[in-house]
Every structure is written in C-alpha cells, then in structure tokens.
C-alpha cells in the first residue's frame, strides 16, 4: 500500500511537470507568430481566488484589498438521505478576514468551529508568472493556529499552538487551464501518546508532518470553472496515519465574489489539522460536501 502511494505520487508529479513543459512549448509557438510589442506583465487570474477547495492558491489580491471568507464543511455523505448526504450533519465552519497591506503580502485571521481554533495567516507572492521571464508563480503560505478551548484540555499553554508552512508553485498553462503543486509542513506542539507494554510513554504520531498537493482549475466559461485537487501525506506515523484527500467541485466568480461548491475528504478547514488528522478514506466513499465563499473589497 505504501509503495502504491509513493508510485501514485511520483506519477502525479511527473504529470504536472509534463504539463509545465507542454505549456512552455505552446508559449514559444504563440510568441513566434505574434511578437510581443507591449510591456510584459505578470499573467492574471491563475486561479479564481485565494482558495481552491481545501488549499491556498498562489494568488494574492491587489494591494488594499480586504476579503471576507466563509467556509463550510458538512458531514460525510455516507448516511445518505438520513442526514441529506451530510448536509444536516454537524458542520465545520470558518469565518475569516484578510487584507493586503503591501504589494504581494496577504495577511488574515479566522475562527473555526472545530476545537474553537483561531488562525493567523500570511501569504507572500514571491514570483509571479511572467511571459519570457518567469514560467511559474511561486508563493509561500504560513499560519499559526491557537486552540482556544478550555485550559483543562491542555497540560501546558504552548500545547494549544500548531503551525503550517507551504510552498506553492503554479502555472497558468493555457487561458483555461491552471495547475499548482505544493509542499506543506505541519507542526503540532501537542500530539497524543500511549503507554506501551513496558510502561513507557510512546507518541501515537510525530510532531511534524509533510504533505504534497496538486491542484487544477479548468475554466468552462469566463466566470465558471471545474476545480479539483489531490493531497498526499508523506510522513509515516506510528499510528493514526492520515488518509489522502481527493476533492473536486465547481467554481464561479463575480466582480467581488468567489463561490466554490465541492466534495472532498477533508473536514477540518485548518490545513495542519487536515494533513495530520484526516481519517476520511476516499476508498470507503467518506466524502464531505463543502463550500467556500469570499467577498472582496478594494480600498
């Protein structure tokens, strides 16, 4: 099973690299036919918004933008019509606000129902895909998450904290198709432990976890797109190894909004919780329906 997962990851990375190379070839053909006479500028709208289902994208809005974020993940669809495919099951919710104080830097904060967590986020667009200059866009995303539940849940105050860092590389391959690959690193200050047969305390999981992600967006009209993603856990833990995430959905944008409706395996919204603790198994059909809504203002 482990070998199978590694092979799957290698194939998906190869596929993504092929797409990048193919995109370069197409770009060379088109520039030969129509020489560029205008000043070269970074490509626009690699993705429709700052999120793509459960992941961040390389996108950072223009300076002075303020964004409100509403994210929902319903229960798993397995109960069928009993709870309307999870829609009437307990949902996880995130409400957030973000702002772009300086060019290419996005900062934000949010509150999440699950574990009453508060997240503080930052994203920086390091490189923006520019014809003839940069073939890809590269962004960094990082967060600090605080579990604000009652102190009886924690031995030490620092146990409340967890962290996530991600490097994302994306390319707008054609006017309709964009793809992104990402490598994420999660850190939990507190992990569960158990007492083994010899009476020693053993960790159930490591404090750290690596994961890789692939995302894609295909526009079916100027305002609508099919979106999909895959996330593969890379770190092996002693127990409770998390499952990968497969997600797919539909996106539509307006002048100020992004709407995404989708199904996927992740329930947590907070990226390190998803990477560490996802026990929804796609082979058992444990998908959740969810949506992301963003509303942006320009000041």
């Amino acid at each position: 099973m482990k070998n199978y997962k590694i092979k799957l990851l290698i194939y998906t990375v190869k596929f993504f690299l092929l797409l990048l190379i193919a995109g370069n070839l197409f770009a060379q053909d088109s520039t030969e036919e129509a020489p560029v006479i205008k000043k070269v500028k970074p490509v626009k709208n690699t993705f429709g918004g700052v999120f793509l289902i459960d992941n961040q994208t390389v996108m950072v809005p223009i300076k002075g933008s303020m964004q409100m974020e509403i994210q929902h993940r319903f229960g798993t669809v397995n109960n069928g019509s009993k709870d309307l495919f999870g829609i009437f099951a307990p949902a996880n919710i995130r409400l957030g606000m973000s702002y772009v104080p300086v060019k290419n830097l996005f900062i934000g904060a949010g509150v999440v129902k699950e574990k009453m967590q508060v997240d503080l986020d930052a994203k920086y667009a390091i490189i923006q895909q520019t014809p003839g200059k940069y073939p890809v866009s590269i962004s960094y995303f990082g967060n600090v998450v605080i579990d604000t539940r009652n102190k009886s849940n924690f031995r030490y105050s620092v146990d409340r904290f967890s962290y996530f860092d991600q490097l994302m590389i994306a390319r707008k391959v054609t006017e309709s198709f964009s793809a992104q690959a990402g490598l994420g690193f999660s850190w939990m200050n507190n992990v569960e432990a158990y007492v083994d047969a010899e009476g020693k305390i053993q960790r159930k999981m490591n404090n750290y976890h690596f994961n890789a992600s692939l995302l894609g967006r295909y526009k079916i009209s100027p305002k609508s797109a099919i979106i999909a993603g895959y996330e593969q856990p890379l770190t092996q833990h002693t127990t409770n190894n998390p499952h990968p995430n497969i997600c797919f959905g539909f996106e539509t944008i307006t002048s100020s909004h992004t709407f995404q409706v989708f199904a996927g395996n992740y329930y947590s919204i907070i990226p390190q919780n998803n990477s560490f603790f996802n026990q929804n198994d796609y082979t058992k059909g444990q998908f959740v329906i969810g949506f992301n809504i963003t509303r942006i203002w320009n000041f």
Partner: protein, 131 residues
C-alpha cells in the same frame, strides 16, 4: 372621484418612474475626451476586455451591453444601451473616464482594475458591442 384619484396616482407613479429611469448627463473632463487609446484593439486586448467585461460589467450592463444584466433592475439609474450609436459616438477617453471613476450606481474600477491597460481593453471590447 375614485377614478380621478387613481388617475392622479398613475401620473405620479409614471413621473417617478420616468425620473428614476433617466440617467443624468455625465460630464467628462476635456483631458479624458482628448485621450487616445494606447492599447491596440487586437485579439489579445479584446480577449482580455471580454473577460473583464463578463466578470465586472455584465451583471448590470448585460452580456451584450444593452443594460439588461440580472442586477440592472435593482439600480436607481438604469444603465444605457451601450450598443446604440449615440453612446458609441463618445470617444474612448469618455468610456475610460466613466469606467475608472464611476458615479452613483456605477462603481469606480480604478482600484479593482489597477492596470489602466486593462480598462482600455474593456473600452476596446465595448466598441465590439456596437450594433
């Protein structure tokens, strides 16, 4: 008597509706009227302009610029039919100014679309809406 009151009410409603539906003249500074469009109306510009039009403008102005977008009915001032000859007779700079600055229901796009070339591309696309 009742018929008389009804007639008066009808006149009043018609008058108010007429007032709502008629946009005030929009004075464009000379500087903009004299501006020449620096972006050539080629396939790239028209494609960019169309994308931006559909994302930012079509909800009020309609896909083909006739002022029949799904949000038009909620506006205090109905959008003009941009395909008409009298609207199309305005210089490019006037469209650029109105798109950039906005007024009342029409939002300003100079912050939402900070690249001026993009606004000129929208102007190029508006020219394709002409009947």
């Amino acid at each position: 008597m009742k018929l008389y009151k009804f007639f008066l009410l009808l006149v009043f409603v018609t008058a108010v509706s007429f007032k709502i539906a008629q946009p005030k003249p929009w004075v464009v500074p000379d500087k903009y009227l004299k501006m020449t469009n620096p972006v050539k109306s080629d396939a790239t510009s028209l494609s960019d302009g169309k994308q931006l039009w559909l994302q930012h403008c079509s909800s009020c102005h309609g896909k083909s610029g006739k002022g029949d977008g799904p949000k038009a009915a909620q506006l205090k001032t109905l959008p003009h039919d941009l395909s008409k000859a009298d609207i199309q007779s305005q210089p490019d700079g006037a469209f650029f100014y109105k798109t950039s600055e906005g007024r009342e229901d029409m939002p300003s796009f100079k912050k939402k679309i900070p690249d001026q070339e993009d606004i000129w591309s929208i102007v190029n696309y508006i020219r394709t809406l002409k009947k």
